[in-house]
Every structure is written in C-alpha cells, then in structure tokens.
Symmetry: C2
Subunit: 127 residues, 2 copies
Amino acid sequence: MTETPDSVTEAPETPNSEVDCLCPLGGVMDLLSRRYAMQLVCVVGAIGPARYGDVEAAFDGVSSSTLSARLDELVEAGILAREQYAEIPPRVEYELTDTGEELRDHLSPLIRWAEELDEGTISRTQE
Amino acid sequence: MTETPDSVTEAPETPNSEVDCLCPLGGVMDLLSRRYAMQLVCVVGAIGPARYGDVEAAFDGVSSSTLSARLDELVEAGILAREQYAEIPPRVEYELTDTGEELRDHLSPLIRWAEELDEGTISRTQE
DNA sequence: TTCAATACTTCGGACTCGACAGTATAAATG
DNA sequence: CATTTATACTGTCGAGTCCGAAGTATTGAA
C-alpha cells in the first residue's frame, strides 16, 4: 500500500484494548505526519488564498515535487480547496476549507508551543 | 544532512517576510512530522510509565526498528524519559517529561478532532 | 524569435520505512 | 546439563518516500 489518500477508509479497528485514547494510525493523522503537511495548513491559513508560488516562497527550501504532492493530498482529504483560473500564465489558488479551518484551530496552539520550545533550545548536544 | 536531532540548532531565519506565523521547519515540528511520533506521545502519555513491549503492542504493526528510532529521537529531544533497570530480562520504562506533558496537552485536541473526522469519513473515492 | 511567467512533472539518487531474523542474559523447565 | 522463555532492542535488505534540478505547456511582451 502506498498510502495515497484516495479514500480515507482505514479503520484501525482498535489495535489494542488496553489503551483507549491513542491516536488513529490511518487517516488524517497519517497525512499530517508527512513532511510539511502541518506547516502547509498553517501557511495557507496565514496567507489566505495562496498561490502555488507564494507557498513555495514561504517555505524556502521545499522541493516542488514534494510540495505538489502534499498539496494534492490535502486537497484530496478535503482540508484545502484548489481553484484554478483559465489564464495564461496559469493561476491556481489554495485556501482552507471549513474542515481545514477547524484543523488550523487545533494546530495553532501546537505550533506556537513548538516555536517557543525551539527558541529556548540553543544547543542540546549534552544532556 | 540527515536530520538526526542531535542538536536542534537550525534557525530558519525567517524564510520569508510576508508570512509571520508559519511553522518552523527545523526542530520539534520536524520530529513530530515523522511516522508515529505524535501517536507515540499520546500512547506513552496514556499508559503512563510504558515498557517497550507495551508500546509496541499498542501500535500493532509498527516495525521495531522504526519504533526504536522514534523513541530515541523523542528521548533525545527531551520529550520522553527513558529509565533502564538492571534486571534480567531487561526492563525499560518510558514516560513523558514535563515538556512531553505540555506537548501532549497541545496534541490532544488535535487528536480528538482527527478521530472524529476519520469516523465521519466513510468513503471518499469520488470527488 | 526569444524571453518571461506560472504551476507544476519527471528523473536519478539519497534517505526512511517495514518485515524478519538475530543478540544478550539468566531464570525456569525437562 | 540442555532447551525454552522473556525483554529490548539492533542488523539487513528491499521497497517506498523525499530531494534538487531540469523540463513542460502556454501566450503575451520585447
């Protein structure tokens, strides 16, 4: 299985009965566990309707192939909406769906916390 | 660069000045973007002091090499604490550090939201 | 005619992951 | 005494994923 989220229909069926509130293995969490996925939701949410080039520039260092793949997956999952305009040169805009907005609301506190933690961590080679 | 979080010292230096609250690319978010990382924080938090075997059983399908790597990274990042007892057979217990607890607090709403979303998504093969 | 602009693909190689077998130790079992 | 059992991993190899760079398509501008 190549994990392309064509259909998000992988019920984990409670892998173990000892723990109840562990995270689902298939589905949205798997999507979000891929590189730049969470950041992408943040960026698109922050920019508003964001063009592909804007997103690429915001990241500064992501390969276009990976970015493209991530974008597709997020659209497929119903988190991002893609609107393409019939112009030359082409124009495509991404923005959060309602579901995407919800996700961003849940993601924001995590992001802010991570930023603060990273700032405080100067060098941690020694324990 | 192989991204091993030996030292979390990759300052992104504000990749783009147009967006301010986008997510950091290096650091904790990168660690959490790896497979099972977020789930691992949840599981260890739920079980309490968790032995390696408990964690492995809770996931039901993770390879031991990957699980081991993730565990090491999380320990290295100061999110998990590892305690090893000099017994035979060996016993090792993992639990969340204070930082790890904070992370779990920020992760929980996301997880719950994801679970609900996955439940509602029956089949989405058609757009 | 060539260049510019945009939103991606395609490609080869590097990196990461999964499955499975193996390691070390000592107590319990036969 | 030899074998099994239990735990927490590590090693290996093939498959899957990600990266950087170059290429594609289109049409107006120079």
